[in-house]
């Protein structure tokens, strides 16, 4: 393997066996198992579904259906729920990641492990834990009644937009904190010292020097959280309100329940379009390399 790689100072100019040996396997994998499936998905979006058959006949109908009142509310809800979750996670994660990178001292390793810890338990069970906390017979109600704040258990904490948003913020938070911690760690300390030597106060240094430098990490985390939230369908199903479906629920429903692959593909294509626009904007800022 390593013989095929020729590490000399000039290989930027010449490509040989080494190039093909390193480039082809990942390229073929990506093409065969990712790009081709995406192409199949896109082609389905333009075909007709009737009863139990897919009719190979070009049509825009699926996109019209996708944007009809039956499915549009979920698309719009996804946009604002995913944006809100991303913003909230940003606010939660920024100070914590800053503290971890600069002030955690000898606790840093332990704290980093603690951020990863939730990922080693089960995603489903963590979502369910919030049902145990927020339910009518849940822990929060029990505590509030014991404390004399409530007289009877309140149904208002769960099965609504609030419980869904809270759980989504919780579930995807590690994906915001981790790139931020890395970004803060890479900051050149002498730059920050220089800023404060030049008389900038803590906040000015943060705003003018620190924040621009961690921006790629922040945007990378945001893109992850936005994308993970907009694709989640188990959290809305388990803990959201009766109408709080996100676009993920609609797609999962078309493939896993209604068996209407063409419509599900059309909705997926819309999601792809939105995310590609976001990515194109962020790619300019070299965000894609900082995951």
């Amino acid at each position: 393997m390593s013989a095929a790689l020729s590490f000399t100072a000039v290989e930027h100019q010449r490509r040989g066996k080494g190039f093909w040996a390193t480039f082809l396997p990942p390229f073929l994998w990506m093409a065969g198992f990712y790009l081709v499936p995406l192409a199949v998905l896109l082609s389905l979006a333009f075909q007709k579904h009737e009863y139990v058959h897919i009719i190979q006949e070009f049509t825009w109908e699926n996109f019209a259906t996708a944007l009809s009142p039956a499915y549009r509310p979920a698309l719009i809800r996804t946009l604002y729920v995913a944006s809100a979750v991303t913003l909230v996670d940003m606010v939660i994660a920024l100070p914590a990641a800053y503290f971890l990178a600069f002030h955690a001292g000898r606790w840093k390793t332990l704290l980093t492990v603690l951020i990863l810890l939730p990922l080693w338990s089960s995603y489903l069970v963590r979502v369910f834990a919030w049902r145990i906390i927020l339910g009518k017979a849940g822990i929060l109600n029990w505590v509030l009644i014991k404390a004399g704040i409530l007289d009877a258990p309140s149904p208002m904490f769960v099965y609504n937009l609030f419980s869904m948003g809270l759980t989504l913020c919780y579930i995807w938070l590690p994906f915001m904190i981790l790139p931020l911690v890395t970004a803060f760690e890479r900051l050149p300390r002498n730059l920050l010292e220089a800023s404060s030597d030049l008389g900038a106060d803590g906040f000015a240094t943060f705003r003018r020097v620190t924040l621009p430098l961690v921006m790629p990490g922040l945007l990378a985390g945001s893109l992850s959280v936005f994308s993970l939230t907009s694709g989640d369908y188990l959290t809305p199903a388990l803990i959201g309100g009766p109408g709080d479906s996100l676009v993920g629920n609609i797609i999962a429903g078309q493939f896993g329940v209604a068996s209407n692959y063409p419509l599900g593909s059309a909705i997926s294509a819309l999601v792809l379009a939105v995310l590609f626009v976001l990515m194109a904007i962020l790619a300019k800022k070299r965000v894609l390399e900082s995951f």
Binding site: H49, Y51, V52, T65, S68, P69, A70, Y71, P73, A74, R77, T109, T112, V113, G135, K136, A137, P153, P155, Y159, A237, G241, P242, G243, D244, S245, I250, G253, F255, G256, V257, A258, S259, N260, L263
Partner: protein, 353 residues
């Protein structure tokens, strides 16, 4: 920290090698996809003892979910399905099921005549299914919150008193129930796009604010009752037996508007490598003892004559053994919905309004 990951890498490589070199145990399993209540351990134990085959169940909350899973997995993944009347024809039309050789199911002749060569599992003169059980869609209610009078009509679902205290299955077949409640029992499963928009939609949409949560499994519905999250629901008898077992009191009734219901059949998935053992299972499930255990766990009503000598008078009444033919006619059984995509669109609009 980064070096510490080495341990993990080593562990995962070891697991990988172990998994590669450990041979898979001989695969003697019968794989069934279907409704909850039919594959309970009390029923499967005896079958495993006789044949050596384990029964592995994949549960679904709707017929549509079963259809999607069978379409994706086929006979490679499942041997049998418990198909309701709205699924049987669809599976046949999609070419996903295989005909059944009734000579291998000798107990078939013991089915009540009503269930032999039934229209919902006999296509082109061939038998594609063997009946399992049947039953109604019930109004289930918590007697601490709902009176018997209130439960005597489906209209209580719309009572402002029960705002946020209702649950129905996340299943578009429910649109047929709306038609039944408001327009009577004619052509419940033939609702075209215009009728969906003009007649069904205005009646259906006010229900939305009454709903606490759409249930997707009977376990979820049971937990909604136990947590006092809801007061009344559209559901199936299996939830009653589950709650009874947990010691939680609920009642159920068929309200005065009448109700929909289902009659389920075992169907053999095309391409299943275990078809012989699957037929043996169908046959076993028609034995009196098996029917009795199944009925006890699920609360669903049996279909085989062999169960009759094993029942006491109370059970006979409960399972409508005496008035079978007459009672069977009062339930509006699920049928294939030809324009399911349109039903599904309205259902989604209802959910996310």
């Amino acid at each position: 920290m980064k070096k510490s990951c080495l341990g993990f890498a080593v562990c995962s490589v070891i697991f990988f090698l172990v998994s590669l070199y450990s041979a898979d145990a001989a695969d003697k399993t019968l794989r069934i996809i279907g409704w909850e209540g039919y594959m309970d351990a009390s029923v499967t134990e005896e079958f495993t003892k006789r044949t050596g085959y384990n029964v592995v169940a994949t549960y679904c909350g709707t017929s549509d979910e079963m259809y999607a899973k069978i379409k994706a997995g086929g006979g490679q993944t499942y041997d049998l399905v418990t198909a309701s009347g709205d699924l049987t024809r669809r599976l046949f039309d999609a070419g996903l099921i295989a005909p059944i050789d009734l000579t291998k199911v000798p107990n078939y002749k013991n089915l009540f005549p009503l269930f032999q060569n039934a229209p919902y599992n006999t296509f082109d003169g061939k038998n594609y299914g063997v009946s399992i059980a049947w039953g109604p869609d019930l109004l289930i209610y918590d007697p601490e919150q709902v009176t018997d009078t209130e439960a005597s009509t489906w209209m209580t679902f719309f009572d402002p008193k029960f705002k946020g205290l209702v649950s129905v299955n996340d299943y578009s077949i429910f649109l047929a129930d709306i038609k039944l409640w408001f327009k009577g029992p004619k052509d419940l499963f033939k609702i075209d796009k215009a009728e969906l928009q003009n007649d069904i939609k205005p009646k259906l949409f006010p229900l939305k604010q009454q709903i606490r949560k759409f249930w997707t499994s009977q376990g979820e519905l049971a937990q909604l009752f136990e947590g006092k999250e809801i007061a009344l629901a559209w559901g199936w008898p299996v939830t009653l037996t589950t709650l009874e077992k947990d010691g939680f009191k609920v009642k159920a009734t068929v309200p005065k508007e009448g109700t929909t219901g289902w009659s389920d059949s075992w169907m053999l998935i095309k391409g299943s490598p275990n078809s012989a053992i699957a037929l043996e299972w169908m046959n076993y499930m028609l034995e009196g003892e098996a029917q009795k255990k199944m009925a006890a766990v699920s609360g669903y009503w049996p279909v085989s004559k062999e169960i009759v000598p094993l029942l006491n008078e109370q059970e006979k009444t409960a399972y409508h053994i005496g008035d079978l033919d007459a009672y069977f006619k009062t339930i509006h059984f699920w049928e294939t919905v030809p324009n399911l995509d349109q039903w599904d669109a309205l259902w989604n609009e209802f959910k996310s309004q």
